[in-house]
């Protein structure tokens, strides 16, 4: 990480810690923790590395504890939104939001201007093809479209229902549902002037099986929601979009916000590296067995996420994803801190090596 980015992060940590552990503005969950631990958090935590003095965040807290535990006193009385994680079945993780989701996407909009101005022109309309419901994506994409001067149309997909059907091996139902979703998208693209698309990789593939996506007027695709390999990116860019529309892969979730990817290129074999919206969130690639240690560059490890906003403090949460630690993205409009590459679910490699038997 550059010295400047490191200084900015440490200063941000001090501000966020002061906010969440102040009796006036703090979050009930953290204030209670500080009382029980007897740690003078504000004086003990002065930089990012000091965050190890806080416990590793556990997702069960977001499933089990009521939302009153998570409303910082500084936000009391202000209307908020409850967002839930994507494809979870059972009790989902919930995160409260006032403006974080808007801030993330306003920042993302700047990134689009810096790197993809032609593909996501201001004034263009958007189509969001993916999970809406209680997810922050629905409001965030609409905000993105609006601040760029366009409208946003929606086609909903319920990933929980899909997951439930797949677990019961009803792939026929899932196929019918996908067709239903894609038919609606094709209809909208036919009757509205839409240049920008949000889609999951699988839905983009399915749309490409139904229509020629570039011919429909799409110039830029913001793609996320599930992991993507460089080969999948290559396939989407070269074959689904025919090299005629830009593809912007992202890695994000309700807990972090949105990590942007360094623009992918055929010359670099579509290598995929994401950069967290630092200092609001920090991604580290840590040793799976000993998560207090960061792995070396270009080594695989588990992703650790720390979220640092006034709305939500989540220290050192171990994600269920693994990735390669990548060097900072230096240069103008870059992200001069560590990136995470080739993100995939933790058990993906094991699943790949399961052997068939005869």
């Amino acid at each position: 990480m550059s010295d400047e980015a490191s200084d900015i992060l440490d200063e941000h940590v001090r501000q966020i810690i002061a906010w969440h552990f102040s009796p006036d503005t703090g979050t009930p969950f953290w204030l209670e923790w500080a009382r029980q631990s007897k740690l003078d958090v504000v004086s003990e935590i002065n930089c990012f590395s000091d965050l190890k003095k806080l416990p590793r965040f556990e997702d069960v807290w977001l499933r089990k504890l009521g939302h009153d535990k998570w409303i910082p006193h500084g936000y009391r009385g202000q209307p908020f939104k409850v967002f839930e994680t994507g494809g979870t079945t059972g009790m989902p993780k919930q995160r409260l939001s006032w403006e974080d989701h808007l801030v993330d996407y306003t920042e993302f909009s700047r990134m689009l201007d810096d790197h993809y101005a032609d593909a996501f022109p201001h004034g263009s309309n958007w189509l969001m093809l993916g999970p809406t419901g209680p997810r922050r994506l629905r409001l965030s994409i609409e905000h993105l479209a609006n601040i760029r001067g366009g409208a946003c149309y929606f086609i909903d997909l319920d990933p929980r229902w899909v997951k439930s059907e797949l677990s019961q091996r009803r792939s026929g139902q899932v196929k019918q549902y996908m067709n239903h979703v894609i038919d609606q998208a094709a209809q909208l693209l036919c009757h509205r002037n839409i240049a920008c698309l949000f889609s999951t990789p699988r839905l983009l593939e399915a749309l490409g099986e139904k229509i020629n996506v570039s011919d429909s007027g799409i110039k830029g695709v913001f793609c996320g929601g599930t992991s993507m390999t460089p080969q999948v990116i290559r396939f989407l860019v070269e074959e689904i979009l025919g090299n005629r529309a830009a593809l912007v892969p992202t890695y994000g979730n309700t807990l972090m916000g949105l990590a942007v990817a360094k623009p992918v290129a055929a010359e670099a074999d579509y290598a995929l590296t994401y950069y967290a919206p630092q200092p609001r969130a920090v991604l580290r690639v840590v040793d799976t067995e000993n998560p207090d240690h960061t792995v070396r560059y270009d080594q695989w490890g588990r992703i650790e996420l720390t979220t640092l906003t006034r709305e939500f403090l989540m220290p050192r949460f171990l994600e269920r994803d693994e990735a390669v630690r990548r060097h900072p993205w230096m240069g103008e409009s870059g992200c001069p801190w560590d990136g995470v590459g080739e993100v995939r679910p933790l058990d993906a490699q094991q699943q790949m090596t399961v052997e068939g038997v005869y």
Partner: protein, 479 residues
């Protein structure tokens, strides 16, 4: 240097950014880096597939191509990697042995099996079609005597999801080549060699490459091939079989639970049939679904189990290139461990004895040339409910059970191949009418003996074509 194996996207080579290393069981550098197809890419290709590329070929042309392909497969250096990376027949045997664990002898016998099918495709197709007029397949319409015959393909492609441990199973899909149906293959992760070599041999012989797809991929990709091709054959375990059980468009080849039965009329001469029993259990390293995993007799079970155990005790692991080698190694040591432990756990249940344990005087699992082997195992099951009485493993393993002849056809359960050694017609009739048996041999014929004129787990022609009523009359105009 590792060979870089591309996909063949209906004939066109494509190097994926995702690759999987194919490692020799002896360790060391990868033998190949095999391109992996993402499921979306397969879906896209299958959506554009056309059977019409085979329209111009007569069956006679295709039989001829298959004959030439057999020669290429057996004798030629064939391109399996990028353009400069070929594979000689000898390299093929060595690579196949290194990744499948099969000794060279068994690799050669699988080559023979594949070449036999390619070389004798005309007879095999006649066997599958019961000798119908070839025009019925070529043009959709023919005759048998004065009776018009119409046949229609049920699919634009046959999907094939292959295993890693038994190259001989490739012979099952080969007739589709001559039946004018494009083939889309997902090779086993550790056995990319055989289907690729067959495809390359066919292309070298003049078969249109657009009708052949080669897509190494993951489980999701395999599912795309299985479900998107109108007809598919899969090789898998009981879980895979259960998953696709209700889909009649997918044939799943799993555990065979094949059996040998000695009839009451021959049982006192059981020693004369030990060759048949041994062959049924041990051919092809005991890995096939057509290997017997259970011997059913009405008397002398203890003696038969003991006699078999003494014979099989002589079959021991040998170096891969030893011409006397009969056993295949487990390239994944964990699988050998799991099977070995599973058998021992089952033996803790009373009612069964490992009779080979005494005969061979060594552990079931042994190491040879740093590879793991399971030595032939005969279990004498006194209890018919014992968990080892009717089970199957991927090595020469069989139970010996005793019961009255009247009970056998009820107890036998789903059986891919049953060999019933008898000259007694009422006994033979019992098995002829037994609905659990797929292929029935009456006589001293090993279960592992394949007669290519006979269907194997369903007739491929019936799977790929359906008969329809047809009439054809010239129309009179202007009269």
């Amino acid at each position: 240097m590792a060979i870089t194996v591309p996909l063949l996207r209906m004939g066109k080579p494509y190097e994926s950014l995702a690759t999987a290393d194919v490692i020799s069981a002896h360790g060391g550098e990868p033998l190949a880096m095999v391109s992996q197809a993402n499921p979306g890419l397969i879906r896209r290709d299958l959506g554009q597939l056309q059977r019409s590329v085979l329209q111009a070929f007569s069956l006679a042309n295709l039989f001829d191509i298959c004959r030439q392909a057999a020669v290429h497969f057996r004798e030629d250096n064939l391109p399996i990697g990028n353009e400069s990376q070929g594979q000689s027949p000898r390299q093929y045997i060595e690579m196949l042995s290194a990744t499948s664990g099969l000794p060279h002898t068994l690799c050669h016998s699988n080559v023979n099996k594949i070449c036999y099918v390619l070389s004798n495709m005309a007879q095999i197709v006649d066997g599958l079609t019961r000798g119908i007029d070839h025009r019925a397949i070529e043009a959709g319409m023919g005759t048998k005597g004065d009776i018009p015959l119409g046949y229609l393909p049920t699919t634009d492609a046959l999907g094939v999801v292959l295993p890693s441990n038994s190259p001989g199973v490739n012979s099952i899909w080969l007739p589709a080549i001559a039946l004018k149906i494009p083939v889309v293959i997902k090779p086993g992760r550790d056995e990319p060699w055989t289907p690729l070599r067959i495809i390359r041999a066919l292309i070298a012989a003049g078969y249109p490459s657009q009708a052949l797809g080669y897509y190494p991929t993951d489980h999701e990709g395999a599912d795309v091939i299985a479900t998107m091709c109108g007809r598919s054959i899969l090789f898998g375990d009981d879980l895979t079989m259960a998953r696709y059980a209700e889909n009649s468009d997918i044939q799943v080849h799993g555990a065979g639970h094949s059996k040998c039965i000695l009839g009451p009329d021959v049982i006192d001469h059981w020693g004369e049939f030990l060759d048949v029993l041994e062959s049924s259990i041990t051919d092809n390293g005991g890995r096939s679904c057509i290997n017997a995993s259970c011997i059913i007799v009405s008397r002398h079970a203890d003696k038969i189990a003991d006699g078999l155990a003494r014979r099989l005790a002589h079959i021991q692991p040998r170096s891969a290139d030893d011409s006397r080698a009969q056993l295949a190694a487990f390239t994944n040591a964990k699988i050998a461990d799991t099977i070995d432990r599973s058998i021992d756990r089952c033996l803790e249940t009373s009612g069964a004895t490992d009779v080979t344990a005494l005969a061979r005087r060594s552990a079931r699992k042994v190491c040879c040339d740093n590879l793991n082997y399971l030595q032939p195992t005969i279990i004498r099951c006194h209890s018919l409910d014992h968990p080892l009485a009717n089970t199957e493993y991927m090595f020469p393993f069989a139970s010996v059970v005793e019961m009255p002849i009247e009970k056998m056809t009820q107890w036998i359960g789903p059986t891919l191949v049953a060999t019933v050694v008898t000259n007694d017609k009422p006994v033979a009739d019992r098995f002829l009418h037994c609905p659990h048996i797929d292929r029935l041999n009456i006589g001293a014929i090993p279960t592992s003996h394949v007669d290519w004129n006979q269907p194997h787990e369903g007739n491929l022609f019936d799977f790929l074509y359906r008969r329809r009523a047809i009439r054809h009359q010239m129309v009179s105009i202007g009269t």
